[in-house]
Homo-oligomer: 286 residues x 2
């Protein structure tokens, strides 16, 4: 293990993901602290043993003693936080994040960051439909993917530390992508899926549909219960890649619609067989 | 209970759904028999105690002794079966089905059926991504919806018997819709969702996406593993209603796309809030 369990880890942003990080890391014996805007979240995290210390404002000693700082904030809040408070970092501190978009965040943070600190970006691909530290649990990481998105500015040591963090958190797979590859992929597997779920959930106003629905509709709309503040920001921060993926989907959807309209059963069956074949690769490895 | 457990129930079509019906009904002491094309399926059902007797061809005695006949066949096979074999029914036999489309099936069967028998249509909204009697289990009915679709030709007794059958099978809710209401609803909650899942699964050929995917993509594509023969037939049998629902979805998807392209964050957030509110009604009652 590269990461010494005697290190201090500060988590900035004690919500669902920040809290789940804290819970996972405390088990190894790290000193885990937190800074978040809500006093209530800090109190909860302290009472439930998720953190050793914490504050509802930027406390210089908590920032200054941290060897690793994890940012679990909205993209624009994260960048503002760095601009405002980076003078407090311990020299040599390693910073990482959980942000769901990379291209519009990583380069900016690396550009403005003090040269004696390093930011290595990561995206833990896990979540729930509920929010807040009260719902935090490191179980959401089991079976999930953790993606490290290094740039040429990153050192091999920082990349390796970040990968190890993913393993310590309990992720099933740790992978590496460039920020651009990440954004294209996330535009497809995560943002497009949320756009589809929201559109499906809101396209038909019929009353009482819930009385007749089967599992298919429930599965396709699980993520239609969506944090509007966070996702609208994520969509905007990855606009081009997302629009490209939406167009890919829309073209394929129209192709299928035309086949149905024209009664092209052979065409439909071919698409369905290809679909079944591709889907088989996606079964979850637990 | 209206249905006498001493009655004989014949299931025509011993696949996933037929087998699951058999398993559920045997527990009450009914004599359950089956007719299906595959000898192997009959052998499996006999060996596993799902049925008391069965045949891989239309055996006159099995049909003639049945008080209730459940048809678990593809739509066109079902209609052909009635045309060819209805002379074998016991006078007064009650027929029901599990067909996923109604308008194009129910009236036709009622039109051609002998006047001394009655067909009351039903749609058990349950399924799995695997097929065949080997995967049958009545657990798939728990928490699911069972929909009876009567027409003016049906008697109150037949409707009541069919509703009771749904409860005996273990469905959480039994509801009633006209065939037309059913087809519109199923076009939306089931067929449209399958069209979306298939389009999402086949719109982007990128390799190795499965390494990076989270639960959202898996949930939205679970049903993308699809029986091409069955679903292409179901789509064709409900073409108009399905195309209407696809167009509703596509309009809403485009609206969201425009908001993203134009950076209309307020509009996006409003759609997302409406989506979250509507989705809350769909949580499964177990």
């Amino acid at each position: 293990m590269i990461i010494d369990v005697k290190k201090n880890i500060l988590i900035v942003g004690m919500g669902l993901i920040g809290g789940s990080y804290a819970e996972a890391l405390k088990r190894y014996g790290f000193r885990v602290t937190a800074i978040t805007r809500s006093r209530k979240s800090i109190d909860y995290a302290l009472e439930h043993g998720l953190i050793d210390d914490g504050a509802a404002e930027v406390r210089a000693d908590l920032v200054g003693e941290a060897d690793i700082v994890v940012f679990a904030l909205y993209p624009h809040v994260f960048i503002e936080w760095i601009e405002k408070n980076q003078h407090l970092f311990k020299p040599g501190a390693l910073l990482t994040d959980v942000t769901g978009v990379k291209g519009s965040v990583v380069y900016k943070v690396q550009d403005i960051l003090r040269p004696d600190c390093e930011f290595i970006a990561a995206h833990p691909m896990a979540g729930r439909e509920v929010y807040g530290v009260e719902n935090a649990t490191s179980r959401i990481f089991n079976g999930a993917n953790y993606i490290v998105t290094p740039t040429p500015k990153n050192t091999p040591e920082a990349i390796e530390t970040c990968r190890e963090l993913g393993l310590l958190l309990g992720f099933a797979q740790v992978a590496e992508l460039s920020p651009e590859e990440h954004d294209e992929m996330i535009g497809f597997v995560s943002q497009l899926t949320h756009c589809i779920a929201v559109s499906l959930m809101t396209c038909n106003d019929a009353e009482n549909i819930e009385k007749f629905t089967g599992d298919s509709f429930r599965d396709l709309t699980r993520i239609a219960r969506i944090n509007d503040l966070m996702w609208s920001e994520l969509f905007m921060a990855n606009k081009k890649a997302l629009l490209d993926q939406m167009d890919l989907f829309d073209r394929q959807f129209k192709k299928l619609r035309d086949m149905i309209a024209e009664g092209d059963v052979d065409g439909m069956r071919e698409v369905m067989r290809y679909s079944s074949e591709r889907r088989a690769k996606f079964d979850k490895k637990q």
